[in-house]
């Protein structure tokens, strides 16, 4: 990025970012500096990519006109803690309207690839068209700026995400990698392909510890384009940390920021896994396709149970003190850590464990490992498999997919493997399509075609207005448990004002864990931007930019054919209320009708100019 102004909100055109547009059909590349249009363009991520996507009319995700946009945020590769994010945007194979049009989507991941990409001097790559041969791209720093090259990738075909990274690491020193797995290569039958991003820990330990940009099938879009991997090669570019950033980083670690996500032995809360215990207190941990039973079955995957038999190591991305990864290892006889099994985050652990009727550590770990290595979104795969299991429970005489049932680990594992190999399109294409084919849409736990994260929809009507998946683009998922708010006024305010601010993290290059409650419109972020780039922006300017980007995303949903009645929770939630959840029942038809009316009153007005 080049700043010719210190007031990017006022003079965005005086901020230039470096973009490379690659025509995969003929290998042509255009490198250039692009002036920004507004503050969201300056911030980056989906704030910028959606402005390009809204210019395209795309009727199918798998057409050459659908670009894959890979970019970073303004603080990616900076000294600011968690500044590791890479974003992948395009029209999604998996999220789409009932009319059959694909929705615009982005997906974000940590690991070190994003920082390396930024350090090559490139801020954005746009892949146009598709290559007729498998290729990978190398981006490296040259004497006069970034140098980009496409290379044949036949040797990478069929390798898992981890194998691809290990293979590329042998060829490229001082580089990091973004790769797809077999799932993305089988894009025709797997719409839920993820992109794996290498971590320092992975390159050192040789264990499969990638981070993932999982949601929305951006790995499948990359597979369609026949791009199997990206390599960013550059020296690390971090000198000493500016004082204001040091202060912010300490605040993230010690202050309100994200102390709860740090390792327990450092006085933290132990990462997102702790959500199991909190939600179980309300019997709100998803069990057997989002139907908690009011019993103690979820406790079998509590951390306190797992650590009796397994080693748990708290590990982190490069230079991140939050250390939110909980990596599970077999325990050797001498008590030390043995074979690495998987990383336990709340969502994949629940959706590939308890929500499938699986309660053994190694079973959940095996499925997480499979999704990671095939390169599939654990949320879409887990929720779609759960749908199949619940279908078979309702139809014992006419089951599908070999009649697998809740708890049938071998059957489920086989199905996940087949999905990753492109041999189970029923799962690979997601729960929306499968449920329509089977004529039982009410039990499919998705909103607008994107599967729900592991929070019961009964506790989170905010899912309806999330623009890129429930827990990453609408921060209302813990609101009922945390605040016990049951009045529409509080929910309308949260959905239309505060909790949508969570998407700011998918613009600026930071993890949500930097400050999940307050978002990016804070003095802490203002100070960091000044210290890192010498720019002056206000908290309000940041909040306004985030709001505009969010509204643009929602307007794009309507442009892609969504009707307002598609903004809804799975029908089972209202038609068959679950009596076991020990929280006030929010999702009554009356409450939802009132909420709908009031939320749309606000969003309709605010979106007017964008529609």
């Amino acid at each position: 990025m080049r700043f010719l102004t210190d007031k990017p909100a006022v003079e965005p055109a005086s901020v230039l970012y470096r973009r490379c547009t690659v025509d995969l059909k003929n290998g042509d590349m255009q490198m250039g500096e692009v002036p920004c249009l507004n503050l969201e363009d300056v911030l980056g991520g989906f704030g910028r990519s959606f402005q390009l996507l809204e210019k395209r009319e795309i009727c199918d995700a798998y057409v050459d006109e659908n670009p894959l946009i890979v970019n970073v945020g303004l603080l990616t590769g900076s000294h600011v803690m968690t500044g590791m994010r890479t974003y992948f945007s395009g029209y999604s194979p998996i999220k789409g309207s009932r009319k059959g049009l694909p929705a615009a989507m982005w997906s974000a991941g940590s690991g070190k690839f994003g920082a390396k990409l930024k350090w090559t001097g490139l801020d954005e790559i746009i892949f146009e068209n598709r290559s007729d041969q498998p290729v990978y791209m190398v981006i490296r720093e040259g004497n006069d700026g970034p140098v980009v090259e496409l290379k044949p990738a036949v040797h990478l075909l069929g390798l898992t995400t981890h194998e691809k990274i290990m293979s590329l690491q042998k060829e490229y020193d001082d580089a990091h990698f973004a790769v797809i797995g077999p799932a993305g290569e089988n894009w025709q039958n797997v719409y839920a392909g993820a992109v794996a991003l290498s971590t320092e820990n992975q390159l050192k330990s040789k264990e499969d510890k990638s981070r993932f940009a999982g949601r929305g099938g951006m790995g499948s879009l990359m597979g369609y384009k026949n791009v199997l991997a990206l390599v960013a090669q550059s020296n690390d570019k971090l000198g000493s940390t500016p004082e204001p950033v040091k202060k912010a980083n300490v605040n993230v670690i010690k202050g309100g920021g994200s102390a709860r996500l740090q390792p327990i032995k450092r006085g933290g809360g132990g990462g997102t896994w702790a959500a199991y215990e909190v939600l179980q207190a309300f019997h709100a941990v998803p069990v057997n396709n989002f139907r908690p039973q009011g019993n103690d079955i979820p406790e079998r995957l509590f951390r306190s149970r797992v650590e009796k038999s397994y080693e748990i190591k708290s590990e982190a991305c490069y230079r991140c003190g939050i250390t939110c990864h909980n990596n599970i290892y077999k325990r050797k006889e001498d008590g030390s850590a043995g074979e690495f099994l998987a990383k336990f985050d709340y969502e994949p652990l629940n959706l590939l464990g308890t929500n499938l009727g699986l309660h053994e550590t190694e079973q959940a770990a095996a499925l997480i490992h499979l999704c990671d290595n095939y390169g599939m979104d654990a949320i879409t795969v887990g929720v779609t498999v759960a749908y199949v299991l619940s279908y078979n429970e309702r139809h014992p005489q006419t089951p599908i997919l070999n009649g697998i049932t809740f708890g049938d680990f071998d059957g489920i594992r086989r199905l996940v493997e087949l999905t990753g190999q492109g041999k189970a399109p029923e799962i690979g294409r997601g729960s929306m399509r499968l449920s329509v084919d089977l004529g039982e849409t009410g039990y499919a736990y998705h909103v607008k075609g994107l599967e729900l994260a592991a929070y019961q929809p009964e506790t989170n009507p905010g899912y309806i207005w999330a623009i890129a998946g429930g827990h990453m683009s609408m921060g209302t998922y813990g609101m009922l448990a945390r605040e016990g708010k049951t009045d529409t006024k509080s929910w309308v305010e949260a959905i239309t004002q505060d909790k949508l601010q969570i998407v700011g993290f998918d613009m600026i290059g930071l993890c949500k864990f930097f400050d999940i409650v307050k978002g990016i419109g804070t003095a802490m972020v203002v100070d960091c931007l000044k210290a890192e780039h010498g720019v002056i922006v206000t908290e309000q300017e940041l909040k306004d930019a985030v709001k505009r980007a969010f509204l643009r995303g929602m307007a794009l949903e309507f442009r892609q054919g969504y009707d307002k009645d598609e903004f809804c929770l799975p029908a089972e939630v209202t038609e068959s209320p679950n009596p076991n959840i020990k929280m006030p029942m929010l999702t009554t038809p009356e409450f939802l009708a009132e909420l709908n009316e009031k939320v749309w009153e606000v969003f309709d007005r605010e979106m007017q100019e964008l529609l």
């Binding site: 809360g269 702790a274 959500a275």
Partner: protein
């Protein structure tokens, strides 16, 4: 007065799961948190008899106080 205190997740570490404790009348939820030396940055959800309350809430005989950390996604 007797109050049942339930702790969840990390708040249990080195403490207990559930205990009946004696406090003088006029004790608030915040007083119990201080008494148990719970790190305030980890105490996020405060329930008395399954209803959300704040730190200043006055406890009564036989109340069940549940203290939980925050729910985070990711």
């Amino acid at each position: 007065m007797k109050v049942a205190v339930k702790l969840y997740a990390v708040l249990r570490c080195g403490r207990f799961k559930e205990k009946f404790l004696d406090y003088p009348s006029g004790t608030t939820v915040g007083d119990v948190i201080t008494d148990l030396k719970l790190p305030p940055e980890h105490v996020d959800i405060l329930l008395v008899n399954d209803t959300h309350v704040d730190f200043e809430h006055l406890l009564e005989e036989n109340d069940v106080l549940s203290l939980l950390p925050m729910v985070e996604g990711g």
